[in-house]
Amino acid sequence: MKKIVVVLILIALVSAVYAGGSTEAKKLGKQTVVFWNGYTGPDRPVLEDLVAQYNAQSDDIEIKMEIMPWDTLFQKLMPAMIAGNAPDLIAMSVGRYAEYAEAGKLASLDGFIQNSKVLNVKDLVPGMIEAGNFQGSQYAMPMAFAAMVMYYNKAMFREAGLDPENPPATLAQLQDAWTKLIKKDSSGNVVQYAQAIAVKSTVPMVPVFMWMYGADYIAGGKSVINSAEAVQAMSMLGDAFQAGVSPVGLTGQEADNLFAAGKAAIEFNGPWAINGFRGAGIDLGIAEVPAGMAGRRTWGGDTILTITKDSKVKDAAWDFIEYWNSPATQRTWALNVGFPPTRTDMSGDVELTTGNPDIVYFLNSAPYSVLFMADEPKAGRIDEEVLVPLYESVTRKTLDAATALKQADAALSALLNE
């Protein structure tokens, strides 16, 4: 009997300890919104400050943020959704939400948008809004918008006889710069690459070259990857890799490391990379991505906010989305992290452009940025099963561009019809 009493007291004590944290907000009469995201990098303290400001100013809502690496977030998300323990609000890459929307795990935001008194979607980056619309319903709102720009090492440019103040503005100029920037040792081994071009686990770098030639991947739910323009683009890339412009098979992280180590002179990347490159001592130049024969297009996108379907505090989660996309929050975010704002009505914001001169390149890139397969539920599979093998086989010359694209077209069509 004594033992049973002791066990019961212990259970009561443990329950009280575990219940303590979650009831704190309730005691204050606040609704708790559990918010998962993967901002583990230098942007974390800025996000934490903005959330703390929101919690301080809100009388009835408390954002309980759980920050974890993106990989971990996606590993935890599926079991959490199945077990009914999903967070209320999730930040995720714009290319990932569609599979969850298709599975019926996310809440439609149409009603909130219509009834909102402070947030007009027309003020937000149109591409991000368009990308967040899945089968006619809005499931995702912007959290961070980024466009890909061209980073270059000014010291390497000077050494190669290139003018660092006039970086390549067209594909032809870029190709000319490549030939001058490659350095080889006496045995013919490349000791300095012209550009670090990642083909896997990366933001889409190769698609930028495809778009330069006017090639595309999917249109109207069908594969359009096997076009004459795509053959031209992939052939050019295959030859460039063989000439030593970039090492083959790079991941995004490896490409960043190569550029930061001063082993590659150019890299296409987003605003999150700036601090790391400057921290590594690179004499950094920033420019817009060069224009191709089909015009200037670059990758745009990044992170969206979604509310889970089973959330019991959807209104509170939406309130945070409104706060996040307000001009004041976006100004703080842009000034401290370097991402351009999610709003299009801030391009004339003097405080913003003078406070962070780098931001101009991203703001200028926004109008021609393309969101890559954002509303495609199979985007992850397409990348892993079709695009990475295509890029790897062409850049390694295990297949010629025409054959590789023919195979990719068949694989992509099969996957889309699955």
Binding site: Q75, M78, M81, I82, E99, Y100, E102, A103, G104, K105, S187, N189, Y193, K200, S201, P247, V248, G249, L250, E254, N257, L258, A261, K263, G380, R381, E384, V388, P389, E392, S393, R396, T398
Partner: protein, 294 residues
């Protein structure tokens, strides 16, 4: 009658002792195995939570799936290179250290350090070390005048890189097992052999190795199972690339289960892997048993 009661009480006491373990094994091993078998017979999208019975379709699909067959082949290649290198390497080191030369204790500790390090950490370190452009190994090799490769980015060398990472991680652990096997051999046998004029090499082949067979059997079976289940270093170092050259079965099962959410098909492949490991283990056990009987 009294004896029967005693036996019964002993049996009950024994059952009480194993009951906690049996409950844990039932809940966390047996039930998931049965559930997994049930899933393998269904088309089960775990994210949408939709499932329907498809019989053996998932198993048939596996044997027509090029990527599964490639992963199976890669798993066999990994096993056939990893297990012999690891077992022979650790045996050789154990024999050398068993002679007890000065500093042997220090080397034992040094070789055991990787075994207490997380495989994910080891894999991250090796990924940096083996980088063809900024990796320390490549820089050293280049400084010595050797031609280097992007070990992990070249389909011809990537598998060797992950095999050697696995060997480096586990060689110390296996060495300790072999050392304990060698220490368990009675000294009298070596003394008798010495009196009969047998040299060190003769003693090794006629006493040490034959008496080490039970240890060898244990080491071989555990390493064979772990090599068929290799995942960590593949996930961290190559993610199955380049061009699927290091994609092994467990990685592909993980991909289908947790990236494509096709849990039915992933379970079917897991069952095929289970059967392969079972067959190999039974064959090995039989082989060692008949060796012991002789």
């Amino acid at each position: 009658m009294r004896k029967k009661t005693m036996n019964r009480s002993i049996a009950l006491a024994g059952m009480r002792m194993v009951l906690p373990s049996m409950i844990i094994i039932t809940v966390f091993v047996l039930v998931p195995i049965v559930q997994s078998l049930s899933m393998s017979l269904q088309n089960w999208n775990i994210l949408k939570n939709t499932h329907f019975f498809v019989g053996f379709d998932n198993f048939r699909k596996a044997f027509g799936d090029e990527r599964f067959l490639n992963a199976l082949l890669n798993t066999v290649i990994y096993t056939l290179s990893y297990v012999p290198i690891l077992v022979l390497g650790s045996l050789l080191i154990a024999i050398l250290l068993n002679y007890g030369f000065t500093g042997a204790g220090f080397f034992k500790s040094l070789l055991f350090v990787p075994a207490i390090t997380s495989m994910a950490i080891v894999a991250i370190i090796f990924r940096f070390l083996l980088d063809g452009d900024i990796g320390l190994l490549s820089i050293w090799l280049k400084a010595l005048g050797f031609q280097t490769k992007d070990f992990l980015r070249d389909p011809d060398t990537a598998m060797w890189a992950v095999v050697l990472t696995g060997v480096w991680r586990w060689i110390g652990f296996n060495m300790v097992i072999f050392l304990s096997g060698l220490n368990a051999i009675p000294n009298d046998l070596y003394e008798a052999a010495e009196i009969d004029g047998a040299g060190k090499v003769r003693q090794l082949f006629s006493i040490s190795l034959p008496l080490l067979m039970p240890t060898m059997s244990f080491v071989l079976i555990t390493n064979l199972i772990s090599s068929f289940q290799v995942f960590d270093q593949i996930y961290v170092m190559t993610k199955g690339g380049p061009l699927f050259s290091t994609e092994v079965l467990v990685y592909y099962i993980y991909y289908r289960g947790f990236n494509v959410f096709d849990m039915g098909y992933a379970s079917a492949m897991a069952f095929i892997l289970f059967c392969i490991i079972l067959v190999f283990t039974i064959l090995q056990l039989k082989g060692f048993r008949s060796e012991g009987e002789r």
